[in-house]
Protein backbone atom coordinates (compact mmCIF):
# COMPACT_ATOMS: atom_id res chain seq x y z
CA UNK A 1 0.00 0.00 0.00
CA UNK A 2 1.32 3.42 -0.94
CA UNK A 3 2.24 6.12 1.54
CA UNK A 4 -0.60 8.22 0.15
CA UNK A 5 -3.15 5.48 0.83
CA UNK A 6 -1.77 4.97 4.32
CA UNK A 7 -2.14 8.71 4.92
CA UNK A 8 -5.80 8.60 3.88
CA UNK A 9 -6.51 5.68 6.21
CA UNK A 10 -4.55 7.24 9.08
CA UNK A 11 -6.60 10.44 8.94
CA UNK A 12 -9.86 8.49 8.63
CA UNK A 13 -8.89 6.24 11.51
CA UNK A 14 -7.88 9.20 13.69
CA UNK A 15 -11.24 10.92 13.15
CA UNK A 16 -13.22 7.75 13.73
CA UNK A 17 -11.30 6.77 16.88
CA UNK A 18 -11.86 10.27 18.22
CA UNK A 19 -15.58 9.97 17.49
CA UNK A 20 -16.10 6.47 18.86
CA UNK A 21 -14.30 7.33 22.09
CA UNK A 22 -16.55 10.28 22.85
CA UNK A 23 -19.62 9.81 20.64
CA UNK A 24 -20.02 13.59 20.78
CA UNK A 25 -21.17 14.05 17.21
CA UNK A 26 -23.13 10.81 16.85
CA UNK A 27 -24.94 11.45 20.13
CA UNK A 28 -26.05 14.96 19.15
CA UNK A 29 -26.92 13.92 15.58
CA UNK A 30 -28.83 10.88 16.82
CA UNK A 31 -30.83 12.80 19.40
CA UNK A 32 -31.48 15.53 16.82
CA UNK A 33 -32.72 12.96 14.31
CA UNK A 34 -35.18 11.27 16.65
CA UNK A 35 -36.47 14.59 17.94
CA UNK A 36 -36.97 15.88 14.39
CA UNK A 37 -39.06 12.77 13.74
CA UNK A 38 -41.13 13.50 16.84
CA UNK A 39 -41.65 17.14 15.85
CA UNK A 40 -42.52 16.19 12.26
CA UNK A 41 -45.21 13.85 13.53
CA UNK A 42 -46.88 16.86 15.16
CA UNK A 43 -46.27 19.17 12.22
CA UNK A 44 -48.69 17.67 9.72
CA UNK A 45 -52.16 16.29 9.96
CA UNK A 46 -52.02 12.51 9.35
CA UNK A 47 -55.67 12.62 8.31
CA UNK A 48 -54.87 15.04 5.49
CA UNK A 49 -51.40 13.87 4.41
CA UNK A 50 -50.16 10.29 4.22
CA UNK A 51 -46.73 9.86 5.81
CA UNK A 52 -45.42 7.94 2.76
CA UNK A 53 -46.11 10.98 0.59
CA UNK A 54 -43.84 13.25 2.59
CA UNK A 55 -41.40 10.76 4.13
CA UNK A 56 -38.92 10.93 1.21
CA UNK A 57 -38.55 14.66 1.68
CA UNK A 58 -38.41 14.39 5.47
CA UNK A 59 -35.64 11.78 5.36
CA UNK A 60 -33.50 13.94 3.07
CA UNK A 61 -34.07 17.18 4.92
CA UNK A 62 -33.17 15.50 8.20
CA UNK A 63 -30.06 14.03 6.53
CA UNK A 64 -29.04 17.51 5.35
CA UNK A 65 -29.58 19.20 8.72
CA UNK A 66 -28.00 16.43 10.79
CA UNK A 67 -25.14 16.23 8.29
CA UNK A 68 -24.43 19.96 8.50
CA UNK A 69 -24.34 19.69 12.27
CA UNK A 70 -22.03 16.69 12.30
CA UNK A 71 -19.62 17.64 9.53
CA UNK A 72 -19.46 21.27 10.66
CA UNK A 73 -18.11 20.07 14.00
CA UNK A 74 -15.18 18.24 12.40
CA UNK A 75 -12.96 21.25 11.96
CA UNK A 76 -14.27 23.07 15.02
CA UNK A 77 -13.12 20.14 17.19
CA UNK A 78 -9.67 20.23 15.64
CA UNK A 79 -9.39 23.99 15.93
CA UNK A 80 -9.09 23.47 19.71
CA UNK A 81 -5.46 23.35 20.84
CA UNK A 82 -4.46 23.94 17.19
CA UNK A 83 -4.75 20.18 16.63
CA UNK A 84 -5.40 20.72 12.93
CA UNK A 85 -2.07 22.52 12.57
CA UNK A 86 -0.49 19.26 13.72
CA UNK A 87 -2.39 17.34 11.05
CA UNK A 88 -1.20 19.82 8.41
CA UNK A 89 2.40 19.54 9.61
CA UNK A 90 2.32 15.76 9.19
CA UNK A 91 3.82 14.44 5.93
CA UNK A 92 0.35 13.44 4.66
CA UNK A 93 -0.54 15.26 1.41
CA UNK A 94 -3.48 17.67 1.54
CA UNK A 95 -5.74 15.66 -0.74
CA UNK A 96 -5.11 12.55 1.35
CA UNK A 97 -6.14 14.47 4.48
CA UNK A 98 -9.30 15.55 2.70
CA UNK A 99 -10.18 12.02 1.55
CA UNK A 100 -9.48 10.63 5.01
CA UNK A 101 -11.84 13.15 6.52
CA UNK A 102 -14.47 12.40 3.88
CA UNK A 103 -14.28 8.67 4.65
CA UNK A 104 -14.66 9.29 8.39
CA UNK A 105 -17.56 11.70 7.86
CA UNK A 106 -19.28 9.30 5.45
CA UNK A 107 -19.15 6.58 8.13
CA UNK A 108 -20.54 8.92 10.78
CA UNK A 109 -23.28 10.44 8.59
CA UNK A 110 -24.22 6.96 7.26
CA UNK A 111 -24.76 5.71 10.81
CA UNK A 112 -26.99 8.73 11.40
CA UNK A 113 -28.91 8.05 8.18
CA UNK A 114 -29.44 4.47 9.28
CA UNK A 115 -30.94 5.86 12.47
CA UNK A 116 -33.12 8.27 10.46
CA UNK A 117 -34.42 5.39 8.34
CA UNK A 118 -35.13 3.20 11.37
CA UNK A 119 -36.70 5.94 13.49
CA UNK A 120 -38.88 7.32 10.70
CA UNK A 121 -39.85 3.80 9.66
CA UNK A 122 -41.03 3.20 13.19
CA UNK A 123 -42.75 6.56 13.65
CA UNK A 124 -44.51 6.71 10.28
CA UNK A 125 -44.99 2.99 9.49
CA UNK A 126 -42.91 3.23 6.31
CA UNK A 127 -42.54 0.17 4.12
CA UNK A 128 -38.92 -0.37 3.07
CA UNK A 129 -39.70 -3.84 1.79
CA UNK A 130 -39.73 -3.56 -2.00
CA UNK A 131 -36.19 -2.47 -2.92
CA UNK A 132 -33.99 -2.09 0.17
CA UNK A 133 -30.77 -2.30 -1.87
CA UNK A 134 -31.86 0.52 -4.19
CA UNK A 135 -32.86 2.64 -1.22
CA UNK A 136 -29.52 2.00 0.47
CA UNK A 137 -27.67 2.93 -2.75
CA UNK A 138 -29.70 6.11 -3.13
CA UNK A 139 -29.03 7.22 0.42
CA UNK A 140 -25.38 6.19 0.41
CA UNK A 141 -24.48 7.95 -2.85
CA UNK A 142 -26.35 11.00 -1.57
CA UNK A 143 -24.39 10.91 1.68
CA UNK A 144 -21.04 10.68 -0.15
CA UNK A 145 -21.82 13.68 -2.36
CA UNK A 146 -23.15 15.67 0.55
CA UNK A 147 -20.20 14.88 2.82
CA UNK A 148 -17.68 15.68 0.06
CA UNK A 149 -19.03 19.24 -0.29
CA UNK A 150 -19.75 19.65 3.43
CA UNK A 151 -16.18 18.67 4.34
CA UNK A 152 -14.70 21.15 1.86
CA UNK A 153 -16.93 24.01 2.96
CA UNK A 154 -16.69 22.95 6.60
CA UNK A 155 -12.98 23.71 6.32
CA UNK A 156 -13.85 27.05 4.66
CA UNK A 157 -16.38 27.98 7.38
CA UNK A 158 -14.02 27.00 10.17
CA UNK A 159 -11.47 29.45 8.75
CA UNK A 160 -13.87 32.40 8.99
CA UNK A 161 -15.08 34.56 11.87
CA UNK A 162 -18.63 33.24 11.40
CA UNK A 163 -17.56 29.63 11.95
CA UNK A 164 -20.06 26.83 11.53
CA UNK A 165 -23.01 29.20 11.07
CA UNK A 166 -21.71 30.01 7.59
CA UNK A 167 -21.72 26.38 6.44
CA UNK A 168 -25.45 26.07 5.58
CA UNK A 169 -25.35 29.32 3.58
CA UNK A 170 -22.52 27.97 1.43
CA UNK A 171 -23.70 24.39 1.28
CA UNK A 172 -27.47 24.43 0.81
CA UNK A 173 -27.60 26.05 -2.65
CA UNK A 174 -25.01 23.54 -3.88
CA UNK A 175 -26.78 20.40 -2.64
CA UNK A 176 -30.05 21.15 -4.45
CA UNK A 177 -29.40 18.48 -7.14
CA UNK A 178 -28.77 15.90 -4.44
CA UNK A 179 -31.99 16.69 -2.60
CA UNK A 180 -34.02 16.77 -5.84
CA UNK A 181 -32.83 13.39 -7.14
CA UNK A 182 -32.41 11.78 -3.72
CA UNK A 183 -35.79 12.76 -2.32
CA UNK A 184 -37.44 11.97 -5.67
CA UNK A 185 -35.99 8.44 -5.75
CA UNK A 186 -36.69 7.79 -2.05
CA UNK A 187 -40.26 8.96 -2.43
CA UNK A 188 -40.86 6.54 -5.28
CA UNK A 189 -39.19 3.61 -3.57
CA UNK A 190 -41.36 4.15 -0.51
CA UNK A 191 -44.44 4.08 -2.72
CA UNK A 192 -43.19 0.75 -4.13
CA UNK A 193 -42.64 2.03 -7.67
CA UNK A 194 -40.56 -0.15 -10.05
CA UNK A 195 -36.77 0.13 -10.01
CA UNK A 196 -36.63 1.45 -13.57
CA UNK A 197 -38.00 4.75 -12.34
CA UNK A 198 -35.12 5.41 -9.95
CA UNK A 199 -32.14 4.00 -11.86
CA UNK A 200 -31.42 7.33 -13.54
CA UNK A 201 -31.57 9.15 -10.21
CA UNK A 202 -29.13 6.78 -8.55
CA UNK A 203 -26.72 7.16 -11.50
CA UNK A 204 -26.85 10.95 -11.24
CA UNK A 205 -26.36 10.80 -7.46
CA UNK A 206 -23.34 8.55 -8.00
CA UNK A 207 -21.88 10.90 -10.60
CA UNK A 208 -22.51 13.85 -8.26
CA UNK A 209 -20.70 12.02 -5.46
CA UNK A 210 -17.66 11.18 -7.59
CA UNK A 211 -17.50 14.70 -9.00
CA UNK A 212 -17.83 16.32 -5.58
CA UNK A 213 -15.07 14.16 -4.08
CA UNK A 214 -12.76 14.93 -7.03
CA UNK A 215 -13.38 18.68 -6.88
CA UNK A 216 -12.96 18.68 -3.10
CA UNK A 217 -9.68 16.77 -3.28
CA UNK A 218 -8.29 19.28 -5.81
CA UNK A 219 -9.47 22.43 -4.00
CA UNK A 220 -8.87 21.39 -0.38
CA UNK A 221 -5.19 22.35 -0.48
CA UNK A 222 -6.15 25.93 -1.31
CA UNK A 223 -8.44 26.09 1.72
CA UNK A 224 -6.02 24.83 4.40
CA UNK A 225 -2.90 26.61 3.27
CA UNK A 226 -1.70 28.73 6.14
Amino acid sequence: MSAWGRGVLAVARKDLVQEFRTFQRLATMGAFTVLVGVLFSFSFDPAAVRAQDVAGGLIWMTLVFAGVMGVGRTFALEAEDAAFQGVLLSPVPRDAIYLGKVIANVVIVSITVLLIVLAFGLFFQLDYGAHPIALALTLFSGVVGFVALATLFGAVSAGTRLGESLLPVLLFPLVVPMVVYGAGATHRLLLGRPLVEVEGNIRILGAFAIGAVAVGAVLFRHVVED
Binding site: L149, V156, T160, F172
Partner: protein, 233 residues
Protein backbone atom coordinates in the same frame (compact mmCIF):
# COMPACT_ATOMS: atom_id res chain seq x y z
CA UNK B 1 3.80 44.52 -9.46
CA UNK B 2 7.05 46.32 -8.59
CA UNK B 3 5.89 49.82 -9.47
CA UNK B 4 6.65 52.87 -7.43
CA UNK B 5 4.10 52.82 -4.62
CA UNK B 6 1.45 55.50 -5.02
CA UNK B 7 1.12 55.14 -8.76
CA UNK B 8 -1.47 52.59 -9.75
CA UNK B 9 -1.68 51.59 -13.43
CA UNK B 10 -4.33 53.60 -15.26
CA UNK B 11 -5.24 51.38 -18.19
CA UNK B 12 -8.34 49.77 -16.74
CA UNK B 13 -9.80 53.13 -15.70
CA UNK B 14 -9.84 54.67 -19.20
CA UNK B 15 -11.15 51.55 -20.87
CA UNK B 16 -13.71 51.06 -18.11
CA UNK B 17 -14.99 54.62 -18.38
CA UNK B 18 -15.23 54.39 -22.17
CA UNK B 19 -17.05 51.05 -22.12
CA UNK B 20 -19.41 52.20 -19.37
CA UNK B 21 -20.32 55.31 -21.39
CA UNK B 22 -21.01 53.23 -24.51
CA UNK B 23 -23.02 50.81 -22.38
CA UNK B 24 -25.01 53.60 -20.77
CA UNK B 25 -25.77 55.13 -24.18
CA UNK B 26 -26.95 51.74 -25.43
CA UNK B 27 -29.15 51.29 -22.34
CA UNK B 28 -30.76 54.66 -23.14
CA UNK B 29 -31.33 53.50 -26.72
CA UNK B 30 -32.78 50.25 -25.38
CA UNK B 31 -35.18 52.12 -23.10
CA UNK B 32 -36.32 54.29 -25.99
CA UNK B 33 -36.90 51.19 -28.13
CA UNK B 34 -38.76 49.42 -25.33
CA UNK B 35 -41.11 52.31 -24.61
CA UNK B 36 -41.59 54.04 -27.96
CA UNK B 37 -40.57 51.80 -30.79
CA UNK B 38 -41.24 48.11 -30.27
CA UNK B 39 -44.85 46.95 -30.79
CA UNK B 40 -46.90 45.70 -27.85
CA UNK B 41 -47.06 41.92 -27.61
CA UNK B 42 -50.51 40.67 -28.55
CA UNK B 43 -51.16 38.16 -25.77
CA UNK B 44 -49.48 39.63 -22.72
CA UNK B 45 -49.76 43.31 -23.49
CA UNK B 46 -47.52 46.02 -22.07
CA UNK B 47 -46.05 43.84 -19.30
CA UNK B 48 -44.15 41.82 -21.88
CA UNK B 49 -41.82 44.81 -22.31
CA UNK B 50 -40.05 43.73 -19.09
CA UNK B 51 -38.73 40.88 -21.24
CA UNK B 52 -36.17 43.21 -22.89
CA UNK B 53 -34.67 44.05 -19.50
CA UNK B 54 -35.21 40.69 -17.84
CA UNK B 55 -33.67 38.30 -20.36
CA UNK B 56 -30.45 40.25 -21.09
CA UNK B 57 -29.95 40.72 -17.32
CA UNK B 58 -30.22 36.96 -16.85
CA UNK B 59 -27.65 36.42 -19.60
CA UNK B 60 -25.22 38.84 -17.92
CA UNK B 61 -25.86 37.33 -14.47
CA UNK B 62 -24.84 33.86 -15.61
CA UNK B 63 -22.03 35.04 -17.86
CA UNK B 64 -20.61 37.03 -14.94
CA UNK B 65 -20.48 33.91 -12.83
CA UNK B 66 -18.50 32.23 -15.60
CA UNK B 67 -16.02 35.13 -15.46
CA UNK B 68 -15.87 34.81 -11.64
CA UNK B 69 -15.12 31.09 -11.87
CA UNK B 70 -12.48 31.53 -14.58
CA UNK B 71 -10.70 34.34 -12.72
CA UNK B 72 -10.97 32.38 -9.44
CA UNK B 73 -9.33 29.33 -11.02
CA UNK B 74 -6.56 31.50 -12.47
CA UNK B 75 -6.08 33.15 -9.08
CA UNK B 76 -5.70 29.84 -7.25
CA UNK B 77 -3.34 28.61 -9.94
CA UNK B 78 -1.06 31.64 -10.36
CA UNK B 79 -1.78 33.54 -7.11
CA UNK B 80 -1.75 36.79 -9.05
CA UNK B 81 -3.74 39.45 -7.17
CA UNK B 82 -5.07 40.85 -10.42
CA UNK B 83 -7.16 37.74 -11.08
CA UNK B 84 -8.76 38.04 -7.67
CA UNK B 85 -9.58 41.69 -8.34
CA UNK B 86 -11.17 40.76 -11.66
CA UNK B 87 -13.16 37.98 -9.96
CA UNK B 88 -14.57 40.19 -7.21
CA UNK B 89 -15.38 42.95 -9.73
CA UNK B 90 -17.28 40.47 -11.90
CA UNK B 91 -19.03 39.03 -8.84
CA UNK B 92 -20.34 42.43 -7.76
CA UNK B 93 -21.66 43.14 -11.23
CA UNK B 94 -23.14 39.67 -11.40
CA UNK B 95 -24.90 40.09 -8.06
CA UNK B 96 -26.47 43.33 -9.28
CA UNK B 97 -27.75 41.78 -12.51
CA UNK B 98 -28.97 38.67 -10.66
CA UNK B 99 -30.93 41.00 -8.37
CA UNK B 100 -32.41 42.77 -11.41
CA UNK B 101 -33.56 39.39 -12.76
CA UNK B 102 -35.12 38.45 -9.44
CA UNK B 103 -36.99 41.77 -9.23
CA UNK B 104 -38.13 41.96 -12.87
CA UNK B 105 -39.09 38.27 -13.09
CA UNK B 106 -41.74 38.22 -10.33
CA UNK B 107 -43.15 41.60 -11.47
CA UNK B 108 -43.74 40.10 -14.89
CA UNK B 109 -44.87 36.82 -13.36
CA UNK B 110 -47.55 38.50 -11.30
CA UNK B 111 -49.25 39.71 -14.46
CA UNK B 112 -48.43 36.78 -16.74
CA UNK B 113 -48.95 33.89 -14.31
CA UNK B 114 -51.02 35.50 -11.59
CA UNK B 115 -48.35 34.89 -8.92
CA UNK B 116 -45.15 36.69 -7.99
CA UNK B 117 -43.29 33.47 -7.48
CA UNK B 118 -43.73 30.10 -9.12
CA UNK B 119 -41.10 27.38 -8.96
CA UNK B 120 -40.24 27.87 -12.57
CA UNK B 121 -36.83 26.26 -13.26
CA UNK B 122 -35.06 29.33 -14.58
CA UNK B 123 -36.37 31.49 -11.74
CA UNK B 124 -35.38 28.85 -9.18
CA UNK B 125 -31.92 28.56 -10.70
CA UNK B 126 -31.46 32.34 -10.61
CA UNK B 127 -32.47 32.45 -6.95
CA UNK B 128 -29.88 29.79 -6.12
CA UNK B 129 -27.30 31.67 -8.18
CA UNK B 130 -28.05 34.75 -6.06
CA UNK B 131 -27.37 32.75 -2.91
CA UNK B 132 -24.11 31.38 -4.30
CA UNK B 133 -23.02 34.98 -5.03
CA UNK B 134 -24.06 35.87 -1.49
CA UNK B 135 -21.90 33.07 -0.11
CA UNK B 136 -19.00 34.36 -2.21
CA UNK B 137 -19.13 37.77 -0.54
CA UNK B 138 -19.88 36.45 2.95
CA UNK B 139 -16.83 34.20 2.89
CA UNK B 140 -14.71 36.97 1.49
CA UNK B 141 -15.59 39.40 4.23
CA UNK B 142 -15.51 36.97 7.15
CA UNK B 143 -11.82 36.20 7.46
CA UNK B 144 -9.21 37.96 9.60
CA UNK B 145 -6.64 37.52 6.88
CA UNK B 146 -7.75 39.06 3.53
CA UNK B 147 -5.62 36.68 1.48
CA UNK B 148 -7.39 33.72 3.07
CA UNK B 149 -10.76 35.30 2.26
CA UNK B 150 -9.73 35.58 -1.39
CA UNK B 151 -8.80 31.91 -1.52
CA UNK B 152 -12.04 30.83 0.15
CA UNK B 153 -14.10 32.99 -2.20
CA UNK B 154 -12.29 31.51 -5.20
CA UNK B 155 -13.21 28.01 -4.00
CA UNK B 156 -16.86 29.07 -3.69
CA UNK B 157 -16.74 30.60 -7.18
CA UNK B 158 -15.30 27.46 -8.79
CA UNK B 159 -17.55 24.92 -7.05
CA UNK B 160 -20.58 27.15 -7.68
CA UNK B 161 -19.88 27.37 -11.40
CA UNK B 162 -19.38 23.60 -11.68
CA UNK B 163 -22.61 22.96 -9.81
CA UNK B 164 -24.85 25.45 -11.63
CA UNK B 165 -25.43 23.28 -14.73
CA UNK B 166 -26.31 20.34 -12.49
CA UNK B 167 -28.67 22.48 -10.39
CA UNK B 168 -30.31 23.57 -13.63
CA UNK B 169 -30.80 20.00 -14.84
CA UNK B 170 -32.19 18.93 -11.47
CA UNK B 171 -34.73 21.74 -11.12
CA UNK B 172 -35.85 21.08 -14.71
CA UNK B 173 -36.29 17.42 -13.86
CA UNK B 174 -38.15 18.32 -10.68
CA UNK B 175 -40.52 20.49 -12.66
CA UNK B 176 -41.16 17.78 -15.23
CA UNK B 177 -42.19 15.61 -12.28
CA UNK B 178 -44.55 18.29 -11.05
CA UNK B 179 -46.30 19.78 -14.07
CA UNK B 180 -47.74 23.18 -13.37
CA UNK B 181 -50.56 24.93 -15.18
CA UNK B 182 -48.17 27.61 -16.38
CA UNK B 183 -46.89 27.77 -19.91
CA UNK B 184 -44.08 30.21 -20.34
CA UNK B 185 -43.88 31.30 -23.95
CA UNK B 186 -40.88 33.57 -23.74
CA UNK B 187 -38.75 33.05 -26.78
CA UNK B 188 -40.72 31.09 -29.31
CA UNK B 189 -39.86 31.21 -32.99
CA UNK B 190 -42.78 33.64 -33.34
CA UNK B 191 -40.65 36.58 -32.25
CA UNK B 192 -41.32 39.64 -34.39
CA UNK B 193 -38.25 41.14 -36.12
CA UNK B 194 -38.50 44.43 -34.22
CA UNK B 195 -38.75 42.51 -30.95
CA UNK B 196 -35.68 40.47 -31.89
CA UNK B 197 -33.76 43.65 -32.64
CA UNK B 198 -34.78 45.24 -29.34
CA UNK B 199 -33.70 42.11 -27.49
CA UNK B 200 -30.39 42.14 -29.37
CA UNK B 201 -29.75 45.75 -28.34
CA UNK B 202 -30.58 44.72 -24.78
CA UNK B 203 -28.00 41.94 -24.82
CA UNK B 204 -25.35 44.23 -26.28
CA UNK B 205 -26.12 47.13 -23.92
CA UNK B 206 -26.06 45.09 -20.73
CA UNK B 207 -22.99 43.09 -21.73
CA UNK B 208 -20.96 46.18 -22.57
CA UNK B 209 -22.19 47.98 -19.46
CA UNK B 210 -21.24 45.00 -17.32
CA UNK B 211 -17.68 44.88 -18.63
CA UNK B 212 -17.34 48.66 -18.31
CA UNK B 213 -18.49 48.60 -14.69
CA UNK B 214 -16.31 45.58 -14.01
CA UNK B 215 -13.24 47.46 -15.24
CA UNK B 216 -14.09 50.52 -13.14
CA UNK B 217 -14.59 48.28 -10.13
CA UNK B 218 -11.27 46.61 -10.87
CA UNK B 219 -9.66 50.03 -10.85
CA UNK B 220 -11.16 50.79 -7.42
CA UNK B 221 -9.83 47.47 -6.11
CA UNK B 222 -6.37 48.29 -7.48
CA UNK B 223 -6.39 51.73 -5.86
CA UNK B 224 -7.49 50.20 -2.56
CA UNK B 225 -4.60 47.77 -2.79
CA UNK B 226 -2.11 50.59 -3.42
CA UNK B 227 -3.58 52.71 -0.65
CA UNK B 228 -3.19 49.81 1.75
CA UNK B 229 0.45 49.45 0.71
CA UNK B 230 1.09 53.16 1.34
CA UNK B 231 -0.42 52.89 4.82
CA UNK B 232 1.72 49.90 5.80
CA UNK B 233 4.98 50.08 3.86
Amino acid sequence: MNRRPGRAPRGSATAGAALSLVGAALVMTLLWMVWFWVPTEALQGVVQRIFYIHVPSAWVAFMAFGVVALCSAMYLWLRDERFDRAAVSAAEGGLIFTTIVLISGPLWGKVAWGAYWVWEPRLTLTLLLWFIYLGYFMVRNATENPERGKRFAAVVGIVGALDIPLIHVSVLWFRSQHPQPVVLRADGPSLDASMGLTLGVGFLAFTILFFGLMMLRYRVETLAHHAARLESP
